[in-house]
């Protein structure tokens, strides 16, 4: 009774697959007018391809065997025109099915993109989110590959398979049934091999995963390996994993290499059966040589579609798994919506007020507890505290990436939940630790929040951020193309550009998450000066990691376990000899 659970699991799995498939087919809805036409083309193409042997067999019996040359020529003219009709149908099929599939896949990609934009920030904060995301790109590619080019081919093969079966049964029922006897056997064999192959491929995936992990670690730490004389040991370990991967692959190929010969064998069994039984029928006069000939051609034609379909089966399996994950993503709940009566945030003066704010990602575990604070317009507030204390949460609440669980966040006395998110965020600037830039020109990156800004405005922002001269030194100046995540700029240069990006929108409230990693001294000085200019005259919240920052701040808030435990200026707090003084001695003091 051990086998019970897997059976149930696989049933659930196939149910899941069916519902995934159904949902995918839902994407065909907009094309319901085009589908019958496309299917007709596919069917016509398949029929024209499978009618040939039938006509040839018939010709052998009724024309060639009877010496009717004129009739043969007429028949061949008919066959040629059928083939020419076929070319028209196949061309039409390729174009129409391709057109529908390309639009369908583009729609799927578009949906994914929109979904990602409308997911709540919380989704991205969850740890497993990153994992899901890295798989996502993969999944989209798999689905593209499986359904992009091959779908028409598959449909065509399916149709010709059906066409061939019908033709065989109608030419001679007995021979038809005999040769179709192997079909269930073929299906069974395919399933069996698929199961074996899945198990083997699981092992190959595991071994290649281990190999890549080892590889990546040993390449990034090659300096340690050399310094600690670990090189030969690393090589030994690598060779073991490498051999395991090789062996797993060879074992897997033993299965896949046996698959096609097995199908071929079954197919030949059918052919031989047709020949033997058909031969018997011709000798007894129950069938003609032409019929048997047609059958022999059909049985051979049979093999290819089955071979192609079974290859597609594995591809379709992984595509379905990919689709499943994509749909899982699409089903995630959306971000918080603007209130129905949300108004436009008027120009911000800069007073930020937290009144008894509590917040938790789930209600029984609060990250912030009863936090109250007032930042006056133009005030610089430094947030200090250990990782996980709630500094980032305060910032997330000001930007309304999350809504408070209790209490209220007000800007200029207005509850931020009563205004639209876009009108609020448009007036808040942020400079984050990781300084993510986007592919595009330098100018486009600076004008990120105001895509219509003029060149003069962009340069003015760059000048304020101390990055103008650097940009001019680039080969194409402001038009220099940046790669993914701002490659090839250094950390410090990216930081300067992200400051310019914040300057560009002239925010009334500024949020700054200081970078912890060190950058070279000269750039560091430029960054500090640029930040000082940016902060001037704006209400600002700074997650501080540097001594110079806390000393500049008008007020330092010390956050610990979701609460503000101390506040005051740097010197006041030092004098108090409390949490801050301690933190300072431990963290800030040592660098």
């Amino acid at each position: 009774m051990k086998s019970n659970t897997p059976v149930v699991a696989s049933e659930q799995k196939s149910n899941q697959q069916i519902s995934t498939l159904r949902r995918f087919l839902g994407y065909l809805q907009p094309y319901r007018r085009e589908i019958p036409g496309a299917l007709a083309m596919v069917a016509t193409g398949a029929v024209t391809q499978s009618v040939g042997p039938f006509l040839i067999g018939w010709s052998i019996d009724h024309l060639i065997a009877r010496g009717n040359l004129a009739g043969l020529l007429q028949m061949l003219a008919l066959l040629a025109s059928i083939y020419l009709l076929g070319i028209v149908a196949i061309r039409g099929q390729i174009l129409r099915v391709g057109w529908i599939m390309q639009r369908l896949l583009a729609q799927l990609r578009q949906d994914i993109f929109h979904k990602i934009q409308s997911l709540p920030i919380r989704f991205f904060d969850r740890s497993e989110a990153g994992d899901l995301m890295s798989r996502l790109l993969n999944d989209v590619n798999t689905v593209n590959q499986a359904f992009g080019q091959t779908v028409a081919q598959m449909l065509g093969n399916l149709f010709s398979l059906v066409g061939i079966v019908i033709a065989m049964l109608s030419i001679n029922l007995q021979l038809g049934l005999l040769s179709n006897l192997v079909v269930p056997l073929m299906i069974f064999t395919t399933g069996l091999f698929a199961r074996w192959a899945r198990a083997r491929f699981r092992v190959t995936r595991k071994t290649i995963g281990e190999l890549s992990a080892k590889l990546e670690e040993d390449i990034t730490s090659v300096r340690e390996a050399q310094a600690f004389n670990r090189v030969s040991l690393n090589i030994e370990e690598f060779e073991l994993l490498n051999a395991a991967n090789r062996d797993a692959n060879v074992e897997a190929v033993a299965i896949t290499a046996a698959f096609l010969p097995s199908i071929d064998f079954l197919n030949t069994l059918a052919t031989a059966g047709v020949l033997a039984y058909g031969g018997y029928l011709t000798i007894t006069g129950a069938a003609t040589v032409g019929v048997v000939t047609a059958f022999l051609l059909y049985v051979q034609l049979f093999f290819r579609p089955i071979q192609i379909l079974s290859q597609f089966y594995t591809q379709a399996q992984s595509a379905l798994a990919g689709l499943e994950r994509i749909f899982l993503l699409l089903d995630e709940p959306n971000q918080l919506q603007d209130a129905a009566d949300a108004t436009i945030m008027p120009p911000i003066q800069g007073e930020v007020r937290f009144e008894q704010v509590s917040f938790g990602y789930n209600s029984n575990q609060l990250v912030l507890r009863n936090v109250s604070l007032i930042a006056q317009p133009g005030e610089m507030i430094a947030l200090v505290g250990p990782t996980g204390a709630g500094k980032s949460t305060i910032i997330n609440l000001i930007l309304r990436f999350y809504d408070v669980t209790n209490g209220v966040v007000k800007i200029d006395g207005i509850d931020i939940r009563s205004v639209t998110q876009s009108s609020l965020r448009r007036q808040i600037g942020i400079v984050l630790q990781d300084n993510i830039l986007f592919s595009g020109t330098v100018a486009e990156n600076i004008a990120f929040g105001r895509p219509n800004a003029s060149q003069a405005e962009i340069e003015a922002a760059a000048q304020l951020a101390n990055v103008h001269d650097f940009i001019l030194s680039l080969p194409q100046g402001y038009q220099t193309q940046l790669g993914e995540r701002g490659a090839p700029l250094s950390q410090g240069q990216r930081q300067l550009i992200s400051i310019a990006r914040a300057v560009m929108i002239d925010p009334r409230i500024l949020i700054l998450d200081e970078a912890t990693s060190s950058i070279d001294t000269r750039t560091e000085a430029l960054v500090q000066a640029a930040i000082a200019k940016l902060l001037k005259g704006r209400t600002s919240f700074v997650i501080a990691h540097r001594l110079s920052t806390v000393t500049q701040a008008d007020r330092v808030l010390v956050i610990q376990q979701g609460q503000i435990v101390e506040q005051g200026s740097h010197l006041e707090l030092l004098d108090r000899q409390g949490v801050y003084a301690n933190l300072y001695a431990l963290q800030l003091g040592s660098t």
């Binding site: 590619n141 670690e217 040993d218 060879v250 031989a272 022999l296 600037g429 942020i430 740097h570």
Partner: protein, 573 residues
């Protein structure tokens, strides 16, 4: 690339032989049809029909065996080649000098070991095999057809050059479009990825609509390019198919007339038709293998670029073992320039250490203080001048012995995925737990480790428990302490550790340094870390500008005074 196959020549020969026999087995089948029809059915000879059916099954078994042999042996050989290549490239990567790795990108090296080698492997096991067996099939079928009826054969074989030409034209015209599709798909994915990583920035700058528009327009472009490829497919493949169809019609027409004229049998006509089916497949295979050849040779170039790279830092001929250290390390007029850089990182550095001395090297970022210590274990070789240990140039020692006597704690700590114990025992995987605990105690990290639920067996690294910068540094110190060092180098190793613990580590280390090492170096940016050293070397812009004890330097070096002042002031603020 083919050279690498040599070790697996028997497997490769087996695969080729199987492929030849497979072709024969395929070619035999239609002859069996002919036999069964002409001599069996037409001649009312039932035993012959049965024999031909039986022979067909035997042929199928033979086909199965050869087919399996071909794919299995080809795959095994190619897996073997990939295995050898991976080992080779990995060994090279592990041995290439720091200067190579400074300029190489990890991701690119990774691609070479993984996808480039896989590309080569697929080429060997699939494309190469396919091309060979396709050529063999084409040739042998052509011969059979010519033998059966040369007029019909000539009609039939016209399909080969014609469809070959169509296919070549298709590939030539469209390889650019296919590449374009890949590029555009890459661009599209890049935008998606950026929006994933930068989701906060996008939302904070209210860029959703613009980003959406950007994605939509790229998506639209991709559809259009994809449609171009679809049109190209539409303009080629239906014609190839119809070509073979029309040839069938011609064969039946001409052959039918010949049968009527009594010059050809029905069985021969059927067999002929069967060969037509076998003819189209190899042409398509060759066509599609062509781009794979180009890809594989590009991959092979990239792989061999690494495999053939020169390891700059190697043992000299006759290099000797570095056994014990007397403690006299001499830098004489050492100059150094990083490969590819125009600026000298070190200019004319000269100094000599005394046995048991604790040397501190102080300087700002970029002053060259870490570079000095990279030269001692020969991570780089000097550009000019020389470095000697007890009078022997470091280049005359074997690398292995030299590096095993130098313990170094890097500025940046790398944790490996594995347990804490594995991480500490990195250089000596066979070390027993007691010695691991002993060094962890010296590095002041033992108490922390035992406070973890699984103590020394706690998994750290990418998938494990996250450690703070200070904890990582202490593990790195412990790791180094477990080696057979006689010279110890600490490169800013306590920058993330709080002052109190640093002091404790320092105290423990001081003892150890005096006892176990012949010379120790501490590299630092802060004066508080270095003031207890026997001697401080002050670096500025690649030059050694002053040396002496803390007190001496305070008196004599204006730069030292300035640094001291700025650091004290900052602390006081």
């Amino acid at each position: 690339m083919l050279h690498s196959l040599r070790a697996y020549r028997w497997l490769a020969i087996g695969a080729l032989l199987s492929s030849l026999l497979l072709t024969v087995a395929y070619a035999v089948t239609p002859q069996l049809f002919r036999w069964g029809i002409d001599r069996g059915m037409a001649a009312q000879n039932y035993p012959v029909v049965l024999y031909s059916a039986g022979a067909m099954v035997i042929a199928a078994i033979a086909r199965g065996v050869f087919n399996f042999g071909q794919s299995f042996w080809a795959e095994s050989a190619s897996q073997g080649v990939a295995y050898d290549l991976r080992n080779k490239i990995f060994r090279k990567i592990q041995n290439l000098s720091f200067s190579y790795h400074d300029q190489a990108q990890t991701s690119q090296l990774l691609t070479r070991v993984t996808s480039d080698i896989e590309q080569i492997r697929t080429f060997l096991s699939t494309s190469l095999m396919q091309v060979i067996s396709a050529v063999v099939t084409l040739v042998s079928i052509a011969i059979i057809l010519l033998l059966m009826n040369w007029q019909l054969a000539l009609i039939t074989l016209t399909v080969v050059p014609l469809s070959g030409w169509l296919l070549a034209r298709f590939l030539r015209r469209n390889s650019m479009i296919f590449r374009l599709v890949q590029e555009q798909l890459g661009d599209l994915n890049a935008v998606l990825q950026e929006n994933l990583l930068g989701v906060r920035v996008v939302k904070a700058f209210v860029r959703e609509a613009t980003e959406s528009a950007r994605y939509t327009s790229l998506n639209q472009t991709l559809i259009e390019t994809n449609m171009q490829t679809i049109r190209a497919i539409r303009n080629t493949f239906p014609f190839i198919f119809v070509l073979s169809n029309l040839v069938t019609v011609l064969v039946v027409g001409y052959g039918g007339a010949a049968v009527i004229g009594g010059r050809f049998s029905i069985g021969e006509l059927v067999a002929f038709n069967s060969y037509l089916l076998l003819l189209l497949q190899p042409i398509l295979l060759i066509g599609f293998a062509a781009p794979a050849i180009a890809q594989a040779s590009a991959s092979a170039d990239r792989v061999y670029e690494v495999v053939d790279a020169v390891v700059e830092i190697r043992d000299r001929p006759g290099a000797k073992e570095f056994k014990t250290c007397g403690g006299r390390i001499t830098f004489e007029n050492v100059c150094f320039r990083y490969p590819g850089s125009t600026r000298e990182a070190l200019k004319n550095i000269s100094f000599e250490t005394k046995p048991k001395e604790l040397i501190a090297i102080l300087g700002m970022t970029g002053s060259g203080k870490s570079t000095i210590m990279n030269l001692l274990p020969r991570f780089y070789d000097v550009t000019a001048g020389s470095i000697r240990i007890d009078g022997t140039d470091v280049r005359d020692f074997t690398l292995h012995s030299l590096r095993s006597r130098i313990g170094i704690v890097f500025q940046e700590t790398t944790l490996f995925s594995g347990t804490i114990r594995d991480n500490i025992a990195y250089a000596r995987p066979d070390a027993d737990l007691d010695s691991v605990i002993a060094v962890a105690k010296t590095a002041q990290i033992h108490d922390f480790i035992v406070s973890l639920p699984e103590a020394y067996h706690t998994i750290v690294g990418e998938r494990g428990v996250g450690l703070s910068g200070g904890q990582k540094q202490r593990i790195a110190i412990a790791r180094t302490l477990l080696t057979d060092y006689q010279i110890l180098i600490l490169d800013d190793s306590t920058s993330a550790i709080d002052a109190k613990t640093t002091a404790e580590i320092q105290a423990a280390l001081d003892q150890l340094m005096r006892r176990k090492t012949c010379t120790s170096f501490v590299i630092a940016q802060r004066i508080s870390t270095v003031k207890d050293a026997d001697r401080i070397l002050l670096m500025d812009q690649g030059r050694l500008v002053a040396q002496g004890s803390h007190e001496e330097l305070m008196r004599t070096s204006p730069l030292y005074g300035a640094i001291l002042e700025s650091q004290v002031k900052q602390e006081r603020r």
